[in-house]
Point group: C2
Chain length 142, copies 2
């Protein structure tokens, strides 16, 4: 096995992930992919990801963060969660699932699949089809 480049062992995995999505494997995208997909499911805003990315040696501009999040989203690597008027959230968990939203600190929490079950859901009105079903449970401090 070849010696890994300084960007870390995960590089080749992330490299493949980007290539499969039809995206060029630039330094910034590899680094962001590593932050996003390197450690389980995550919910990020541009601001959060920018803060993390800024801590790494590699510099990234906020514009690139936005561009990259949008590209990853279009490429199907991320889901968008519309839950807060003030910022966009992206979720690395691609399965249809639902969320708690803690209003006091703008934090998103996955609802465990076996804790929720939908009852009867309506058919889409004539001329439309259902794209997705999203359940949001807003939480306040007890």
């Amino acid at each position: 096995m070849a010696i890994q480049p300084p960007t870390g062992q995960q590089s080749s995995v992330m490299r493949e992930k980007l290539q499969q999505a039809g995206l060029r494997t630039t330094k910034q995208r590899l680094m962001l992919a590593h932050l996003l997909f390197g450690s389980g499911n995550r919910h990020v805003t541009a601001e959060i990801l920018y803060a993390e990315a800024s801590k790494t040696g590699l510099g990234v501009s906020l514009a690139t963060i936005y561009n990259t999040l949008n590209q990853f989203h279009e490429a199907g690597l991320l889901r968008e969660v519309i839950i807060d008027q003030n910022r966009s959230y992206f979720d690395t968990n691609l399965h249809e699932h639902h969320h708690f939203f803690v209003e006091s600190d703008a934090r998103l929490i996955d609802i465990n699949e076996d804790e929720i079950s939908l009852g009867q859901m309506p058919d889409a009105p004539d001329g439309f089809q259902t794209d997705s079903i999203q359940v949001v449970i807003r939480l306040k401090d007890a």
Copy 2:
């Protein structure tokens, strides 16, 4: 019975509504209340309401539209529906209910209460309590 002011017969109804909410009955608020509550349940954005208000004789500034929507919301006369990243929706239907969202034209449609039933919903995590449960079914053109 006294002769009604030129603002129309509904004025006294709206006047009471505002007074009960602890809001002063200004010309603008009465006009906006009439647009919002005068004809069944509605889903409005600031932009939509501004367009309608501008058509009436009475002038209103966009800032007043925003202020008024927020005040009505705080006073409990409107519900906020977070469903679109680009604009805030307000709903005159105060009951907990759910929505279709037509992505192609950013339109909100109420889901009839008897067409939907929730199954098992999770308890709020420790330290929190459920504030609201919102189901959004996103629609695309068939």
